[in-house]
């Protein structure tokens, strides 16, 4: 059914678009301005003279590329681990009746609500003792832990939606429990798995507080933390155009991933499984 779009809807649409996209456009525009233009405090929205010098500079900056590598590595590994653990845990929560199920769920929720910042100093001490300070695992472990609860909750909701019969049918057809899980349940929960993966990846990709506190060199520092070191030679005149360029570059993977996964998050994947 097609609904007629009134003028009010269009106006509202434009307002929301401007509200959301203006800062993005501003950053993109900044990234094409030359350093001299931003330091003089130019007020115009579009650059006077377009330049891609900022991109050349930042991509030849060894610290930045190292940070980019760290960001990708840490975010991807944390996402993979988080999704794998969350899938298994959520499946157990959705399907099995075991003692302490509620406790597991409430603890997971409690972790999700826990303010990350308050954990930084104990983690800092612990990681130094365990020699995890300034390493990839040192960031992967907390990222994974903080995203697990949300992933578990999302996925267990998806698993609950999958009819029991699917699994029973698979078992009758000759599947082991593991085969039934892998070949029937996981593909059906794919939208949930991708949702959880996206949320986890974004958290790990954007996280700043832990990244700045638990790292000391570019061997494990991620992009958000690295960007705070882009102060330039003059503390009163930070290189805005360079910062904007870095921001644009770190945003690109996020957009690519959303576009990529969006196709997988197709609603109604389970339609046709059972009647109704």
């Amino acid at each position: 059914m097609k609904q007629k779009i009134g003028p009010g809807v269009i106006v509202g649409f434009i307002v929301i678009l401007v509200w959301c996209l203006l800062p993005v456009a501003w950053i993109i525009s900044l990234s094409f301005k030359s350093v001299s233009e931003t330091t003089t405090g130019s007020a115009q929205f579009l650059p006077k003279s377009w330049t891609i010098q900022n991109y050349k500079d930042i991509l030849s900056n060894g610290d930045f590329t190292d940070a980019l590598r760290n960001s990708f590595g840490i975010a991807i590994i944390a996402t993979l681990l988080s999704v794998i653990f969350a899938t298994l845990a959520a499946y157990a929560i959705a399907r099995l009746d075991f003692k302490g199920k509620r406790v597991v769920l409430s603890i997971a929720l409690a972790i999700a609500m826990f303010p990350v910042v308050s954990l930084i100093s104990p983690l800092f001490d612990m990681w130094r003792t365990f020699h995890l300070f300034n390493t990839w695992p040192g960031l992967i472990i907390p990222y994974m832990s903080f995203t697990l609860p949300l992933a578990i909750w999302t996925l267990s909701a998806f698993f609950r939606e999958i009819p029991w019969e699917m699994e029973q049918a698979a078992q009758v057809d000759g599947a082991t429990s593991w085969q039934a899980f892998r070949k029937v349940i996981v593909p059906l929960a794919a939208p949930g798995v991708f949702t959880a993966a996206i949320l986890t990846f974004f958290f790990a990709w954007n996280e700043f507080a832990l990244a700045i506190s638990l790292t000391s060199t570019t061997s494990s520092r991620t992009v958000p933390a690295q960007m705070s070191f882009f102060v330039g030679p003059d503390p009163f005149n930070p290189p805005y155009s360079q910062l904007a360029t870095a921001a644009v570059i770190v945003t690109i993977p996020v957009i690519v991933i959303v576009l990529l996964f969006q196709r997988r998050i197709v609603a109604g994947l389970t339609s046709g499984a059972v009647k109704g």
Binding site: Q168, Q171, V172, D173, G272
Partner: protein, 421 residues
Amino acid sequence: MAAIEMKNIVKQYGDGFPAVNDVSIDVADGEFMILVGPSGCGKSTLLRMIVGLEDITSGDMVIGGKRVNDLAPRDRNLAMVFQNYALYPHLTVYENIAFPLRLAGASNDEVDRKVRDASKTLELDEHLERKPGNLSGGQRQRVAMGRAIVRDAEAFLFDEPLSNLDAKLRGQMRTEIARLQRRLGITTVYVTHDQTEAMTLGDRVAVLKRGVLQQLATPRELYTNPVNLFVAGFIGSPPMNFLPATVEGSSVKLPFGTVAIPEEKARKAQDKGLLIAGIRPQHFEDAAVMESGKAAPGSTFKAKVDVVEWLGNEAYAYIPFEAPAEVQAQLLQLERDLDGDALRTQLVISLDGASRVQEGDEAEIWVDGSKIHLFDPATGENLTIDSSSAGTIPSDTSTQEVAEQQDAIATPGEQEAQAQE
């Protein structure tokens, strides 16, 4: 292919709910066995115990001479069609049917040959590359059956496979299933709550009530010789009429008049006081349309017809009557057991399509006295049963005790939920 033997199967849920009680059924190799009963009678639970999705509390499940109580579903080599089909929505029809073969590690050639074979049998050829979501109910049903027949399973198990289809399709698929089973000659256990499916499909039918086996017999035996009120009321459509009756000599006194019955039947029911007479609607007729010779063995009575439903080849006439309190209670209980909720006690009679009886008429009705069954109102037992042609009747079909246990644990709504799980 294999025979399935159930020996004293009991299923008790964790809360003590007795879902299946001491049921023994033997399904011969190649036989089409129906498990039938109203909702909550344990028929689905029994089927799930055969396939291994439900643990067996006690008793032996023997398939092909091997005790399978402790085997996982995948080790029992049975094929099952679920009520809601349970197709894999992320796989094409082809891959859905191929699924069991792939799990068994069949080669691609073998998979292809068998899948094409099955799809030809079920006329699914043009749908092989589609996803289940794009199929109609009947097509999904056929895919579910394809997944079953593609394997060389020991037996087929059907869990109310037609209940999600509309009436017309249901009739077609019913015939299709019967044809398929005859052709493949495979042992089949089929669960349904629909007595028409039970009568038309089954070689033999097991009638269950509250997890207790009532009677195990051929459809004809069930129809002509029901063991008790429950079976009598469950089998046949429209259902059998139950009337208060007293036997005097060789005739039965009914609310409408006195009907002569055969000596032998009268003897069995002599001096039992108030009884319940069971007469099928088909054993009545409008005396006016009968040939004079045919009317001889029965009796006639006059009654005021309340409602007439004319269907062309036949007509149903409804005649209300008052039942005495002691029979009324039993009939109400029976109605509940059968999932019904009749508001009044009434006689349903099936008349010939040529009958001109109108609503409100005082019609002369003929009844075939030789087909009357007489039931003990206290136990529900059929007093006039011909046990030589009534199939297998378990020694104790009383559900009184079980019913009390079940009611103590769960309300009917919960039972329903339990049966669905």
